[in-house]
């Protein structure tokens, strides 16, 4: 059977329709036992940001922005975080599908393994990457001797380090979306003769698009802030591997004021991008 099923295009709203209960119209009273810790949580999370804003030497802001090193680091950060997100999407979405849909022994173990980078200190992740992909690493030595490719201290190394840390966020979020999606649409597609790949492309992917977008945003944000794995695996050199978090850390030793300004720039850029993405992609969530 040829996999041409043009009318198979369920919309997200309809797919979720029957599962959603009536939305609570009356505002419920918030129990104090929840409200107090919640407010404390807000303070805990926002106070450091306020500290950053209060101590920012606003007059230095433009001078710092004009420094070539800052723009270089910012550019590198944005490029590497985006590439790491792309890599995570290409490898992570199929992986999430495997975890959510396929039945095979050791699936739980696999899921546990994939979440290891979440709990691993990033510096340890960087060391592990060196041992795997470094010049004497278990795979890296062949990359070097057969193809002349060395990954440490390159921009590609930064992308790999960031993807290593960020991909689990995407996989977990996409897997969650897959589990929440109604499998009957996929079954229907299959009965109508669609191949597995066509079903995934035309039915599953549109269904879980918001989950994929959310996962990608999480992964991007994590990659943008990545420090430990990057400095360990990719080193620190302006222009090739010095991302914004590394620049902030080094500036902190030398010129704390500059470090504050750099932090603020990174914060502003990331919030702007995330807000823009949220507006566009994540309104349904």
């Amino acid at each position: 059977m040829p996999g041409r099923t043009p009318s198979l295009r369920p919309r997200t709203g309809r797919a979720e329709g029957p599962r959603r209960g009536p939305s609570p119209t009356a505002t419920r009273r918030v129990p104090l036992a929840l409200l107090l810790p919640a407010l404390l949580g807000v303070v805990f999370l926002t106070l450091p940001l306020i500290g950053l804003l209060v101590r920012t030497p606003w007059s230095d802001l433009t001078a710092q922005l004009r420094g070539t090193q800052v723009l270089q680091a910012l550019r590198l950060s944005l490029i590497t975080a985006s590439l790491a997100t792309a890599l995570s999407l290409v490898l992570g979405v199929p992986l999430a599908w495997l975890l959510a849909r396929a039945r095979f022994p050791g699936r739980r173990l696999l899921r546990a393994l994939i979440t290891v980078p979440l709990v691993l200190p990033p510096v340890v992740g960087g060391v592990a990457l060196l041992l795997a992909l470094g010049r004497r690493g278990i795979l890296g030595q062949y990359l070097d001797s057969w193809f002349g490719i060395t990954l440490p201290f390159t921009t590609a190394g930064v992308v790999l380090a960031e993807a290593f840390v960020a991909m689990p966020f995407l996989v977990l979020s996409v897997e969650g979306a897959l589990r929440a999606a109604d499998p009957r649409f996929e079954d229907a597609a299959a009965t109508l003769g669609a191949s597995g790949w066509t079903t995934f492309r035309r039915v599953t992917l549109p269904l879980i698009a918001p989950g994929v977008a959310a996962g990608a945003v999480l992964a991007w944000a994590r990659a943008l802030g990545e420090f430990g794995a990057t400095i360990t695996f990719a080193g620190n050199f302006p222009g090739t591997t010095q991302t914004m978090p590394l620049a902030v850390y080094l500036a902190l030793q030398d010129d704390p004021q500059a470090a504050i300004v750099l932090s603020l720039i990174l914060l502003a850029v990331s919030i702007t991008v995330l807000a823009a993405l949220r507006e566009r992609w994540m309104t349904t969530a």
Partner: protein, 280 residues
């Protein structure tokens, strides 16, 4: 519904981070608590560190340059053996970041830096009690993998194409010394990475990720057979001096002074000599 899993995942991560922060805070509270407890007995301050070991108690927190890791760990153990009531805690790192930490109020008793520049950061901020004492000197050396596979003999060999070099960032003493050595030899090295402390640069050689790094003689010695040292003439123009000082806001000033005296003692001298440090 779709978002909940993502949210739950990130919430777990932040819960873990919070747990970590709580543990850290508890540890910090513990050390400063015991420190201030002993600081409340200043009567024992001048009774002499050499004989009356029983007068000292609490914790001494020492911020020391990464290149002192081996020697100071040993000296700390010896000091604890000589003064059973005292625990010595170390924070080893790049001298610049240690100095930055002290200036912004980290609860340390003693600061041992790998350069006068980084020590000046602390003295200028008025955080040192008294004048720092220079206790050792250290000289740069080229660290290469055992057998020197790339045949590196001089500083200018590091500028050859295809040679991957790790240097320290210029804010760290070993990086500042490297800049001086480069100027003395009129060579310009293009490193692949600028590491945040000398041990990180050395590790990159040990792992085989770079072909050479500019580190201290003492680091090469401490690494045992894992790296090999190559002396170069320009190193004589880039010698670092290591000052040590008790800090003004030391939570345990009495024991801090005793520790500094211990480092400057004949035994301290022996330990530092054995590691390859030079007399000031």
């Amino acid at each position: 519904m779709i978002m909940t899993f993502a949210l739950r995942a990130s919430r777990t991560a932040s819960a873990l981070a919070l747990a970590g922060a709580v543990v850290l805070a508890a540890a910090a509270g513990c050390s400063s608590g015991s420190g201030s407890g002993s600081g409340g007995a200043p009567a024992a301050a001048s009774s002499g560190a050499a004989s009356s070991a029983a007068a000292l108690s609490g914790t001494v927190t020492v911020f020391a340059a990464a290149s002192l890791t081996g020697t100071f760990t040993k000296l700390g153990k010896d000091f604890e053996a000589a003064h059973p009531g005292v625990t010595v805690k170390f924070n080893f790192g790049g001298s610049d970041s240690l100095a930055a930490g002290i200036v912004s109020g980290a609860p340390a008793d003693v600061f041992a830096a790998a350069s006068t520049t980084t020590m000046n950061t602390v003295t200028k901020a008025g955080d040192a009690a008294g004048t720092p004492t220079v206790f050792v000197k250290n000289q740069l050396e080229i660290a290469v993998p055992p057998g020197d596979p790339k045949g590196i003999k001089t500083l200018s060999d590091l500028t050859k194409p295809g040679i991957k070099v790790a240097l320290c960032a210029t804010t760290v003493p070993c990086g500042a010394a490297a800049v001086k050595a480069e100027a003395a030899g009129d060579v310009k090295i293009t490193p692949v990475t600028l590491e945040t402390d000398v041990k990180a640069a050395l590790t990159k050689v040990e792992l085989g990720e770079v072909d050479a790094a500019l580190v201290y003689q003492t680091d090469v010695k401490a690494a045992g057979g894992k790296v090999q040292g190559v002396d170069f003439t320009e190193a004589a123009k880039a010698i670092n001096t290591y000052p040590i000082v008790v800090l003004k806001d030391a939570p345990n000033a009495t024991a801090a002074q005793a520790f500094v005296a211990f480092v400057l003692s004949a035994h301290g001298r022996d330990v530092l000599d054995a590691a390859g440090f030079q007399n000031p």
